[in-house]
Amino acid sequence: MPMRIAVGSVSNAMRGKRLLEQHGIRAYVRRYASAEDHGCGYSLYLPHTHGEAIRWLNEGGVHGVPYEERDGG
């Protein structure tokens, strides 16, 4: 089950990607848009859900918010 985490700016996304890589988690930087979250921004896409990802991001100063993506279905 993939996991998507909104992190705001592209710098947050790059920082978050590095933080997760340090814990052996592969993450991809993706673009997202949500009017509820101030508009455009970046997210981290994790191919597999990881329960500690949000905590590790927060500890590294990246505020991450998990979200669901509309899949067009």
């Binding site: 700016s9 592209v10 710098s11 920082r15 930087v29 673009r31 508009g39």
Partner: protein
């Protein structure tokens, strides 16, 4: 031409800087931080690696506190506008216009501390006397662009913090030449020129922040995130980076910083001081030459001098015609010339870089002796 104007801008750059810029122009052509397709993300990642490179070189643990700027001047304007607005600040008596003019524009009142190039205790004491309960910040250069004198910024930062105020460092002449440790030395704001001692191209600069504090941006606009908000994002670096970034320039800067890290700031600085010291000693032994810099052994590779028999403009012009790139005049730092007593016409300044050789220095001194020893050279 023998290039001795590295304090204005370093030249040439290491070959990898030119290669990185050329590569960036074709490989990283998308707008970073805007799109989500492959090249947009890879360009953003390439720029983030530049932040990481700067963070490692300058002792910043979070690369997001490395802010890209078009120049050191823009970085200084950004910080000064916030910290000094209409208040009192303490500056040194060697400041460049990149410090004094933003302070003037911000209607700041400046209290000045005298720098004693050969006595750090005296310099720190002068700053201590100048700070009052009304002082909002200390703003000072790390290395004088006129004399090469090095200020004890770590001690000045500690002093400022004891008095509850931040310190802003103009590191235009220091970065890449003397070690800078933002977090280790608790330097609140460090403003860096990308095109001097870190061998990036012109049009690049950095603002290094000890913490993510709410600085007022010089310009606002698109940042690629939080686009529904009426104002720019709260956090660094995006808060201060509206508009599209200078991708080829910044990637060139990254290559320059990588080159500096590979060779070592201490090693580069020591080599420049050794070359400049040879020149300095020869000039000191030359009749009619007056030195206005401390020995490079306690400064950097910047040497200001004047000649008894010929004016600054004529001398620098003659050196230029002789194939030596030096700068004459006030070097955008009239305050320093008031301090040095050279306010009437400034100084001739030579400044060495990482590639300057002892032999080039000797050729310079020989030519200088030849023309200053021959009054006929300047007639007609």
């Amino acid at each position: 031409m023998i290039y001795l104007d590295h304090a204005a801008t370093s030249f040439p750059k290491p070959p990898e800087v030119y290669r990185a810029m050329a590569c960036a122009a074709s490989r990283y052509g998308a707008n970073p931080g805007r799109g989500g397709y492959g090249m947009a993300v890879s360009t953003a990642e390439a720029l983030y690696r530049v932040r990481e490179e700067a963070a490692q070189l300058f002792g910043v643990s979070d690369p997001r506190r490395v802010v890209f700027m078009p120049s050191c001047t823009a970085a200084l304007n950004t910080v000064i506008r916030t910290v000094a607005d209409g208040g009192r600040v303490v500056i040194s008596d060697l400041e460049h216009n990149a410090v004094t003019r933003p302070l003037y524009a911000a209607s700041a009142v400046c209290d000045t501390a005298h720098v004693t190039a050969t006595d750090d205790d005296a310099t720190v004491a002068a700053f201590e006397r100048a700070i009052t309960p009304f002082t909002r910040a200390v703003v000072c250069t790390y290395v004088s662009n006129v004399t090469g004198a090095v200020l004890p910024v770590k001690r000045l930062a500690a002093l400022a913090h004891r008095r509850g105020i931040p310190i802003v460092i103009d590191a235009a002449q220091a970065a890449g030449v003397v070690p800078i440790d933002v977090e280790g030395d608790a330097l609140d704001y460090v403003c860096v020129a990308g095109h001097k001692g870190v061998y990036g191209p012109m049009g690049t600069g950095l603002l290094l922040c000890l913490e993510d504090r709410p600085l007022i941006p010089l310009s606002v606009g698109g940042t690629g995130s939080e686009s529904m908000r009426p104002d720019v994002p709260d956090t660094l670096p995006e808060r201060l980076e509206s508009g599209t970034q200078n991708v080829p320039g910044l990637i060139g800067l990254g290559a320059g910083m990588r080159w500096v890290r590979r060779h070592g700031v201490e090693a580069i600085g020591a080599r420049e001081r050794a070359v400049a010291s040879r020149i300095y000693e020869q000039l000191r032994a030359t009749d009619g030459i007056r030195l206005h810099s401390p020995s490079p052994a306690v400064g950097t590779g910047v040497i200001s001098f004047t000649a008894e028999t010929v004016g600054v403009a004529a001398l620098s012009d003659a050196l230029g015609r002789g194939g030596f790139a030096v700068r004459g005049g006030f070097h955008c730092a009239p305050m320093a010339h008031r301090t040095l007593g050279t306010l009437s016409e400034g100084t001739v300044r030579l400044s060495v870089g990482a590639y300057t050789t002892v032999q080039e220095g000797e050729k310079f001194v020989q030519f200088l002796k030849k023309i200053t020893g021959n009054p006929l050279f300047f007639r007609g």
